[in-house]
Symmetry: C2
Subunit: 284 residues, 2 copies
């Protein structure tokens, strides 16, 4: 991927650069969304924009161009020649003063980056992936928990722990030993036929696909609980799967080499329900 | 501050922009230094470059142009018309692939930003500052602790907790209740005439001025210990002071409105020792 291979809009204008004083660069002072674009449409766009808006509220980023932003995303999705991934990055904007303090007169910078959908192995969704347990433990900070903000060094370091092509994701625990997520996915466990997913009030990202899965599970009449989960819960899970906006749902086939079996009945049931939503993109 | 008021070099060339794929922007995947420039010289430059190099090692940022970088910083310091602050930002560089994984073929981006020294109140160093106790608690992650990396949302949020002009800094604790630092300063306590400063193995930044103070204290024959400190230690401290590369040493005069008295004898002794080093900039 280079700038040449990506389609880029910065504040509505084509271009491949941002100002050097950008607070997103200096402090990671901003948020992002990764949006799947299929058949010319941005999948779950309203959910993405809703999360972004919540993040802006929490960080007090005074962005107001939501209608314009939606229009730009929709146009960029419509202009894609094939399946694409759209990364939307919203930074507080170029600094208007030295230091950490935001003065409140910053003008947020919106960046849209569209790239072709990476060549996925379709077997991963059908047969499941190989996961490992990460060594790095995520720091806990309720003030940042849940947001898809730009402070992602933990994910960069966690992703650097393995190079093997046939390992697809790491599961991460927090400093207090709570199971949180993958490096780029949310995690669900099946126990007694019901679904469990980590509460994300200490760290982690409230994924859009996580939200969709939780909704679909409940509508399917499955038990679905957000709760505190630990290594012991992972060890006894009947099924484990991972989710994100791009891959949808990835069953975990092996964990640190231990066979978990193929996708179990709850996973398959959710996949069947999710399939049409993912293939014919809906807005919310 | 705008780009127009700052002197900027990006990879050795004048310019006010960086590539939109910059990993520093997307993930905070990089490091920075804030260097005081006085009388045409970059103060403690070797200590700054040493810390930056250690950070690159820990993040596996494969930057090798250390001689060139030093030359650029020295030239920029020499070109300043008066006292200036130089911010040196080193990012892993523009992404060469999608996602968190660094492929290893990234070319690091170096950014130098020189701005006039802000109008400080010189009384702050003589008479002391007003500090408060911050509400936000810093997350703990040994993998990131000590580095001056670009993931600074915690500092942005902590700095947003107060607006009063006569409050100069917040003291921050970590999620487990350990005293760590200010939002932009390191902290020292005096107890029984000896110096204590928080160990920074869970979070916090290993400040260059902190290192200088620790060295000077030891050379002055003062007891000087890095240790775990809690609110109770702060409550019984005889003297409290804060340090960073720009301000040098700030005595804390009041803490959440409680009078700590003027700069105490240990603080004054260190200030006297530090003064010549700060005014006639030395390299290390």
């Amino acid at each position: 991927v280079t700038c040449a291979e990506a389609t880029v809009l910065v504040n509505g204008r084509p271009g491949g650069v941002v100002e050097v004083l950008e607070r997103g660069l200096h402090f990671g002072d901003g948020l992002f969304e990764t949006i799947a674009c299929l058949k010319g449409r941005a999948r779950f766009l309203s959910l993405h924009l809703e999360r972004l808006q919540q993040g802006c509220g929490r960080l007090r980023i005074g962005f107001e161009g939501w209608g314009l932003l939606r229009t730009e995303v929709e146009a960029m999705a419509a202009g894609a020649a094939g399946p694409a991934i759209l990364k939307l990055l919203l930074s507080r904007g170029p600094a208007t003063a030295r230091g950490y303090a935001a003065r409140g007169d910053e003008v947020a910078t919106r960046i849209l980056l569209r790239q072709p959908w990476p060549a996925d192995d379709p077997a991963l969704g059908r047969e499941g992936i190989n996961a490992r347990i990460g060594t790095l433990r995520l720091g806990e900070n309720p003030a940042l928990a849940g947001m898809k903000h730009l402070n992602r060094l933990e994910q960069v370091l966690a992703r650097a722990e393995w190079q093997a092509q046939d390992i697809h994701e790491s599961l991460l625990f927090s400093s207090s030993g709570r199971l949180i997520s993958g490096t780029m996915t949310n995690v669900f466990l099946v126990r007694n036929g019901g679904l469990l997913t980590p509460r994300l009030d200490r760290c982690g990202v409230q994924g859009v696909m996580r939200r969709v899965i939780m909704r679909e599970a409940r509508e399917a009449g499955l038990s679905m609980r957000e709760t505190e989960l630990f290594a012991a819960d992972l060890a006894v899970a009947e099924e484990v799967f991972l989710t994100n906006a791009r891959v949808g749902l990835w069953p975990v086939r092996t964990l640190d080499g231990r066979q978990l079996g193929g996708p179990g009945p709850v996973t398959r049931r959710l996949q069947a329900r999710l399939g049409p939503l993912l293939e014919t993109p809906v807005d919310a």
